[in-house]
Each structure stands twice: as C-alpha cells, then as structure tokens.
C-alpha cells in the first residue's frame, strides 16, 4: 500500500487511482504507414522495467485527471509526480 501525491489534489491513498501503464509512448502520426512489426511494437511491446519507471496514473476517484509518475518498481518508491506534457525532473 502506498500514498500518491496527485499534482492537483495532494496526497491520497493509492486505491483512489488507476494505473495507465508506461508513459511517454507516442502514438505514431501515420499508423497506416507502419509495418505490422512497428505497429505491434507500439501496441504491445513493453519495457516492463524492474527499477525506475515512468508511468501514467489517473486520479479516478478524485479529480479524474491524468498525470505522470516516476516510480521504482522494485520497491514501489515514488520518486516524482509530474503533469502530462512535462518531462520527468531527472
């Protein structure tokens, strides 16, 4: 169990939030021009990192807004929280 600091509402129990997977995956501008391999890479392949990961969360049972988080998946320690469109601080 851990606390998450929503950039809009402040610190709340993580059960108020829902997880949105790896962050900073950019949707290809012209999907029709991708090969099947490239499309699969974008849709399905993941780093699934053990260690510091950049990921998206949604404050589902709160302000319902999306934001990014840098968390160490080997110990669930949260390093930073930042808004969509921003770059991670480190």
């Amino acid at each position: 169990m851990f606390l998450i600091k929503c950039p809009f509402c402040g610190e709340r129990d993580h059960s108020e939030f829902s997880y949105g997977g790896e962050a900073h995956l950019v949707r290809p501008k012209q999907p029709t021009e991708l090969s099947d391999d490239q499309w699969a890479e974008y849709l399905f392949m993941r780093k699934n990192i053990k260690g510091l990961q950049y990921e998206r969360w949604n404050h589902l049972h709160g302000c319902r807004r999306w934001f990014n988080m840098a968390r160490d998946t080997s110990n669930d320690k949260i390093h930073s929280v930042y808004k969509i469109g921003e770059k991670p601080s480190k």
Partner: protein, 417 residues
C-alpha cells in the same frame, strides 16, 4: 546412480533414523560451456531441462537459478490444475499438460500428490451463465470433460456454498471439470529436479544471470554471478522476471509483471473436497492436505516486482469468500504472500523462438501457469531441441502480436488461475 524411492527404501532408511537418504540432486559448480542453458529453476524450467535430457538426448545442459529452486511462483501458487479453456489452441496446450499430470508421480518416482478432486467455476449472473455454458460446449467438442451444474446440483456437490438467492452475487450454476484438481507445488519442482539431475543436468542455485552475450543475431553465452558460461542455446523461463532478461538481450516482450497474492487459514478438519473458483467475485478456495484453506486473490493493476501486493485486494477477496461460505467467518488466517506474475495482453503464454538465434522464451503464464508445468516443459524442450515449435505450441509464438492471431483467454479462462 539415483536410488529409487519405494516402500522398501522407506523401511530400510527408517532403520538408520532417516539420516542416510541419498541427496536428491547434486550441487555442482557451473562448467564453462554447455550445449543448452535454462534460466530459471521453477517448475517450468526444471521440466524443460528434464525433457531436453530425456526426450532429446541433451545431456550437457544446466539450469541457472538466482535463488533456490521452486522459490518463485512455483512455490507461491494455489496449485489449481484444470484444462477447461475456451479456444482450441489453449485446450490442446492445457489438456496435454493434464494428461502428463495423470501419470507424473509414477514417471518421476516422486509423489507430486496430484489429486483429481474436480474444479468448479461458479456463475453469478446471466452473462456468466451464458459464457460458462458456451465454454462447457467448447470443451466437450475438444474432448475435454466438462459438465454444467444447476444450483441444486451445485449445492449437492459442494454443500458449504451459500446458494441463497438473496446474496449480492447469487450462485446461478457452475461448470465442473472432474479430471481437474490440485498437486503439491514444491514436489513438482523437486521431482523434476531429481529426475533431471539423475540424467546429468547441472542444477546451479544461487547463480543469477546478469547479462546475455550476443554475437550479431545469435547468442554466445551468459554472464552470471558465478562467471561467464558459453552456450549456443538459451531457454529463458523466468516468469515475472522474463522482461528483465529480455532487456539484457536487447529485445522487448509483450509482458507486464504484476503482484498476485494468496493466503492460507489455520488448519481445520476436512470441509471442502473440491476446488471452487469464482470469476465475478474473484475468489477461489480449496483445502490442503494439512487442512489449511488455500485462498487466492486477484492481481494489483500496476507493474511491481515487490512480491507484495496491496491490502485491499486481500480484503475484497475475503469479503467475497465470507459471503459465499458464511461457515468460514470465524477462521483465522495464518499466512499471506505474493508472487510476481508476467501477463500477456491476451492472457495466454509464450513458448517461442525470438528474433535472436538460439534465444527462446517460455513465459507469460501469468496467474495460471502451474497447471501447465509438465506440458510447458515438454513442448519447450521440443522447441529448443528442434529449433521449431511443436504443433501444440505453434499458436503461442511471439509473432501472434504482429499477425494479430491472438489467443484471447481473458474472459474465457474465468478467473485466470
């Protein structure tokens, strides 16, 4: 020579106070070179090595395990074994395993305590009823035993289930696979380890893989905490840590690793002689031979390698258990733990070659791979030895995420254990 376990061996060893049993497997140092190396000493990895040695005559091989064998998900699961999956490819895969289970104790000369006590999958709403009936028919068409039970039959088969229509998620029927059941998880790892060791396989514990050495598009060897090991064939069977090893080799897999939890109660007298699973309320229960209720929960939604999981998952499961089995209300829980499970987007496994020559993956078993252990090892050994899949695992290749030919067992597999 490995001595056989038998009633006579038991009597003989009792005369020396059980102090002179032969070691079940050696504890060798790694050689500098092997014909093939399996990474991961769980049930699937040990079974893979066993069948490589037994059916493909690979004798100069090793299994590398970073901790102790069976200490991963193999030793952490709730041991439910069944083969009533929806799609033909899955039915073929899981029933192949179930058939091996039926004779496994004899084959390994090791009691894996396989118990065909039946597995029920409860329906709690109209949609469940339709889905589960559809699955019953699909199973039968594939030659897999499956029955539909109405509420009265449910009550008769497992009397402690609360079949009152007035509960929040009333029981509206159930499937029953009678050939399904449970087995002793540790014994599966130990039995395969002992069998593989007897054929000369080196099982190397406390040996963590730190890197995969590539020469262009093929593998050359493995960096480990016990030095460099040269090999042309690497089979990765690392469950929740599969992506970590894929990243070492410079490839990505369609996996996310999440915590999955289970818990056991204090031991009580026999009260439930089958396995009951429920998808809608996400709770399942069976009773171990020691008398503990073995209760499984769901996964947390986020990636984590902590082997922990959160409290509200357990809380949700126990709420459901209490409504379905009011008789458990005063039981105390003894232990709770978590494992790291590797989940594919279609909830089916990968037993597959990769774009790198000599690098094979057997993973993505997620929340439900214990049941497949013998079949998975058998098919993976074939894939490694022949450098091509067996007909039964051809659908479970990585390429399905490129072609779109997924094996979507998400809804179909009920609770995916």
């Amino acid at each position: 020579m490995k001595k056989k376990y038998s009633i006579f061996a038991l009597i003989k060893n009792s005369l020396s106070y059980h102090e002179n049993w032969q070691k079940a497997w050696r504890n060798p140092e790694p050689k500098s070179k092997y014909d093939a190396v399996i990474i991961g000493g769980g049930g699937h990895g040990l079974a893979s090595a066993y069948y490589l040695a037994k059916e493909h005559n690979f004798k100069n091989i090793a299994v590398l395990e970073k901790g102790w064998i069976g200490g991963g998900n193999t030793g952490r699961n709730t041991t439910i074994i069944r083969s009533n999956y929806l799609w033909d490819a899955s039915a073929g895969l899981y029933d192949h395993a179930l058939k091996i289970w039926e004779n496994l104790s004899q084959e390994l000369n090791y009691n894996v305590m396989f118990s065909q006590r039946g597995v029920m999958n409860l329906a709690h709403n109209q949609h469940d009823v339709r889905e589960l009936k559809r699955r019953t028919h699909a199973n039968r068409l594939n030659g897999i035993d499956c029955e539909w039970l109405n509420v009265e039959q449910v009550k008769k088969f497992c009397p402690i289930i609360n079949c009152s229509p007035n509960i929040r998620y009333p029981v509206m029927g159930s499937t029953l696979q009678r050939r399904a059941g449970t087995a002793r998880h540790d014994a599966v790892a130990w039995g395969y380890a002992r069998g593989a060791d007897a054929m000369g396989v080196d099982i190397i514990q406390n040996c963590e893989v730190k890197g995969i050495k590539r020469n262009g598009d093929s593998v050359e060897g493995i960096e480990t905490t016990k030095g460099f090991i040269r090999t042309k064939k690497i089979g990765v069977v690392a469950a929740g840590h599969s992506s970590v090893i894929a990243n070492m080799a410079g490839i990505r897999l369609p996996l996310e690793s999440k915590p999955l939890q289970a818990l056991v109660s204090e031991p009580i007298k026999p009260i439930i002689d089958t396995v009951v699973m429920s998808n809608a309320v996400h709770a399942y229960v069976s009773q171990s031979d020691k008398g503990e209720l073995v209760i499984g929960a769901g996964t947390d939604a986020y990636i984590s390698y902590t082997q922990k999981g959160t409290h509200e998952i357990i809380e949700g499961t126990l709420k459901a258990i209490l409504e379905l089995y009011p008789i458990f209300s005063r039981l105390r829980m003894l232990r709770q733990w978590g494992g790291v499970v590797d989940i594919c987007p279609d909830a089916s496994p990968l037993i597959s070659k990769t774009s790198i020559k000599g690098l094979y993956f057997n993973c993505g078993w997620g929340t439900g791979g214990f049941k497949a252990t013998p079949g998975s090892g058998h098919l993976f050994a074939h894939t490694i030895a022949k450098d091509e899949p067996h007909a039964l695992n051809a659908s479970f290749n990585i390429n399905r995420f490129v072609s779109g030919d997924l094996v979507d067992e998400h809804g179909a597999a009920a609770v995916a254990h």
